[in-house]
């Protein structure tokens, strides 16, 4: 006479409490929910981390936009700087001829007389800049011709070595000819150097500017 005059709905609800199959099902459901807890916690933490990253990204985006706005007035300056930078290889390949002449003047011994000094540029590179294309030399050729007494032949050698030490690093002696002159008491000589324009002209007495141009 169990459940006599108890409504089926009520019996079902009561069975959910006490019936073994329902208890087992409830235990499985509750265990599943308990196992979900770490996953839920992880999800919450991940979501919060994602939110923080989103906020950070938004902040950085705003900052980037701010910087972009600040950069707009500098665009013209940047363009001019780029144009100036285009001139850099041209300026770098210049050779201070007066310094070369000064080096020759300081190096020549009293026993030798120079007849001619020639400086020529060769091995050109093409450098495009705003307004056209420039031919920029990558090498200079220095040719010295002179005379010396026959008994003082070593003076040419001293002159050549002294001059080579003063020329920019990387410079080479290409030619060193000495010939007796048929009509007189002097011997002629020809010295030829290859000079690389590398910007290091301090050996020739060129000094650095005290305050460089900020541009």
């Amino acid at each position: 006479m169990k459940n006599l005059f108890v409504s089926p709905e009520r019996v079902a609800v009561q069975n959910y409490r006490t019936g073994l199959p329902f208890r087992v099902a409830a235990a499985i459901i509750l265990a599943g929910l308990v196992l979900q807890a770490p996953m839920l916690l992880s999800s919450v933490l991940t979501w919060r981390r994602y939110q923080r990253a989103q906020d950070r990204r938004e902040m950085l985006r705003a900052e980037t936009a701010n910087f972009q706005a600040q950069l707009v007035p500098l665009q013209e300056t940047k363009r001019k700087l780029q144009q100036i930078h285009q001139w850099e290889p041209i300026f770098k390949a210049r050779l201070p001829v007066s310094a070369i002449l000064a080096a020759v003047e300081k190096s020549i011994p009293d026993q030798a007389v120079l007849g001619s000094v020639s400086i020529e540029a060769d091995q050109f590179d093409r450098v495009p800049v705003t307004g056209g294309v420039y031919r920029v030399p990558t090498n200079y050729r220095l040719v010295l011709q002179g005379e010396t007494r026959p008994e003082q032949g070593e003076a040419v050698q001293v002159f050549s070595e002294t001059l080579l030490r003063r020329l920019p690093p990387g410079s080479e002696e290409i030619r060193n000819d000495r010939q007796p002159r048929a009509a007189g008491n002097y011997n002629s000589f020809v010295l030829q150097y290859s000079i690389k324009p590398n910007g290091n002209y301090f050996g020739m007495g060129v000094q650095r500017l005290a305050d460089p141009d900020p541009l």
Binding site: M1, L4, V6, Y16, R17, A26
Partner: protein, 331 residues
Amino acid sequence: MGYSLVHFLRHFPWKYYLCGGLFRANEPIIAVILSPAQSPALVTRGRHALWYENDVAVMPDRPPSPESGLEAGLCPGRSFSARLLARGRAKNPARYVLLPELAVNDFYCNVHRVDGLRESSTEVLLESLQEDPRQVFGAWDEPRAFRWAILSTDLELPHGSLDRPHSQVMIVGLPAEYCERVEIWAERQKASLAAIIPPVLACLKWFLETLAPVAEPCVLMVELAQVTVLAVLMEGRVILLRQYATEVDYLFEDLSERVREFAVAPGRIYLWSLGPPKLQLPDHFSATRVTAEIMREASGGVFLHRKMGDTKTETEEPAAYLLHWAARHVA
């Protein structure tokens, strides 16, 4: 009731499970007889009686009785269940077995021959009764809705076909409004409801299981506060059942007629009074009164329950034995 996963999840008893109900082995059972004369209650756990209360009618928030109207809402203080369980040193939640004594008009109980019914199975018979009892009885002038149950004549719940195993069935019915009131009350007590068994059915079942002679016909008269029931039993089955309100003279006439009809031997008439005995059968019936002593012998021992101070006390009331049996049998 068709169980379904959706229904289970919708009525998932979270609170009950999380309060330890998931692993609770056996709940305490409270069996209560609700009678206008006396309403005894018994708290048990398993086979052990924890507490016996002589009369719960004076306690607040008591179970609704059939004659009382709609109960008021929540009573202040502890609930009825909490009070009784505390006395029996048991914990919530409880399971209730209620034995409400109903008036003749509130309780339909009769034995029907199966071949006189059109329905071929208990399920169809129940459906017909729920739709309209006149489909089954022919004459039914009760305007109230009833809840119905089909019992075999040995007072078991039958299933399936009614053709062969049951030549007779008992149809019992209670007012649906009262059953709903009891369910609402049990819900309010946070308790479960094991069954609502009219005391007559409980007495008959107990009698069939313990005292009824197997071979000979016998008569059992159950005297309640408002109703007297006469039942003729044969071969462990109820073959006739009558309810009488107050017509004692007619009752004796009917009893004499049934004794003759079924050739009931002298000494095979039993009289069982759940309350104070008022009915006195004439001597020529040679009736045997079902007393506490007889119940004690039939139950196989003294019925002990705890009283104040942890002392065990024996009771002399037949109602206590019936409640103990109902608690064990039903729950």
